[in-house]
Amino acid sequence: MRGYWPNIVPRPNNITRPGTVSGPNTSSRVYNQKKKSNPIQSKSVETVSAGGGEMARSLPAAVVSLPDEDDLLREILLRLPPQPSSLPRASAVCKRWRAVATDPKFLECFRSRHREPPLLGYYEWTDEGIIFSSVLDPPDRIHPQRFGLGDNSRNGMLGCRHGRVLVREFPRNKIWVLDPVTGELCGLDAPREFNPVAFFVKGAVLCAAADRSHVHGSCHSSPFKVVLVCIYGYWDPSRPIAFVYSSETGVWHNLPLAKAPSEQYHFANSGVVVGNVLYWSSMSTIGHMLSCSTPPAVLDTALVKIVEIDLDGQSLAVTKGPPSMKGSSSHQVIKAEDGDIGVAMLSYPNMEIWQRKVNCHGHATWLWHKTVDMDTILAPPPQITGARTSKEILDYDEDNGVFFLCVDTYVYMVQLEAMQSRKLSEKLSYVQVFHPFKSFYTPGWSGRQSSATASPKSVSVHQDTAAAAAPCTALASTAAAADSSRSSTAAAAAASDSTGAAESGPSRGWWMRWTCWWMPPSTTSPTDN
């Protein structure tokens, strides 16, 4: 995207009317100089193979250098890959590069150009609670401690999306929304309907930025919504309930149920957002028990249902899904090619894909799309050790159509359309908590700690009433500091307020990193100190 800066300006007055010819000029640069030994060139510099061809090794410094225009430098840096190390390394080259690479407006253009934040890693349940693991190799590998959840690592993780993590603190019926990049934390009292007796609670957090040009992946200051659903409620087991919280209003809204299901259901896997509707696939309680039996019982009724939360229309519905797959208890709503939804069901080694078609009258039908033999995709192929070996869909990334499967304790990332897979790791626990985490990890989000550590505040919110409940204020003082630091005059103060070194060593205690919007010391004068 070149929308932000003025177009690169050509030299003036170089287009002439017909007939004008300039005088001759005798000097001319000689190209293709023989490769010279460069005494300052590090041995670690490899010959760059650029798209198949090879560039000549660099000439000695000060003979040839990049044209000195910031616009040009921005165009080059925009084309760096969105990996975590790209811009930090560029910012460490020299002052001019630092000024460009850390300019918030450049970063906005960078995210807009790339659109899709990289997958940094995933959260999974281990013996030490929920921990983050990186899927990237060095230098892009982010240390697990950087994205640790602190005290919340022992709570129930409901999901993560748009760079935020949603956690449910079970006995106290509290919801925590964390931003691992900035360290921001927001505590909410969940509606009383989700009291500790209510099992089968699913939730989702999503960015609620209204700006159409907003690109997810750095939604740190954007408003968010939290959705909580319980399809097997304590108060009424046959009536699913759903609430949506908005950080802008600070209020939970109870979503009316359009049509109650006839059976009791429970969920599988993570919600998927398509359009502005959140979807979960669910299975009847009896059906789930039957399908988990060994050997799996034959199911001859349509047992998969779709739970839909319409965030625009503010409604909850449970609709019919495709026929369940024989022997399968692992299913996942997916985004279909035509923009509607589908359902993937896994009965290893086969995965069935069904797609929903809605006609002009709003009537939906489910059509079988394809069956894929996962043995032809998973590489290296898993060693199935028995019928009780874990084979399930852990999660699904609707933006990229990527599945995360667990087969025989190993986690695979699968791009079904491209028929490609990648083995990620060995899954350390049978507890089904696995949430991929994507984010643009752009320069400036530091590991600095504030000298003042406040305990996280939780906010009691009322439901549906004209509450005096304020928007999430768990980090009120940080928010105020963040606002003030957005002005460039406060930038120097913010930068100098840092207390230096990041934490060292593992920390199981609570941490909270104060964050201000990182502003470079100056973007107007690259040479200043």
Partner: protein, 169 residues
């Protein structure tokens, strides 16, 4: 693309490099790649010979000739149907275009020439090439490749290290 009026010669665009060497291409070809030419047509008048002259007097002949080569290729590609094969062929051509014989000096002069006539496609290609040269490289390696002097103060280096202490810079 502007069609030549019936009965007149094809309009040409002439780029004049350092040394007074002329490189010509049909106006229709230039219009595909050069934003300057497209904008100039709004106000330029042709009298006598049907030629638009563009002076690039401080750019050597070789990069100007490559620029004309690029414009010719883009104009030809624009007339053919888009397909996966066509995209693959374009990528292969781009690799050959900026191949082994293009050193940094030539690359930057080519970039200057592209900027002069606002050939956005070539600017994009060269910027991609430079980005490819530096991606995955450490700051010192980038400085070496591009001939950049390290002028960061020790405080700034410390701040960068602190800001990015969680990944390996």
């Amino acid at each position: 693309m502007a069609a030549a009026p019936s009965g007149s010669r094809t309009r040409m665009v002439t780029l004049i490099s350092k040394g007074g060497r002329n490189f010509k291409m049909p106006e229709a070809v230039a219009l595909v790649s050069s934003r300057s030419c497209r904008e100039a047509l709004d106000y330029i008048e042709y009298r006598g010979n049907n030629t638009m002259m563009i002076k690039l007097l401080d750019i050597d002949p070789k990069p100007v000739s490559m620029l004309v080569n690029f414009c010719n290729h883009m104009a030809a590609a624009a007339t053919s149907a888009a397909s996966d094969d066509a995209a693959q062929r374009m990528r292969e051509w781009e690799e050959r275009f900026l191949g082994d014989d293009v050193d940094q000096a030539l690359l930057y002069d080519l970039l200057s020439a592209a900027i002069s006539i606002q050939a956005d496609g070539l600017i994009d290609l060269v910027c991609k090439r430079v980005a490819h040269m530096i991606k995955g490289k450490t700051p010192q390696e980038i400085r070496t490749i591009l001939g950049i002097q390290d002028d960061l103060t020790p405080d700034q280096r410390d701040e960068i290290r602190t800001d990015n202490s969680w990944i390996d810079i």
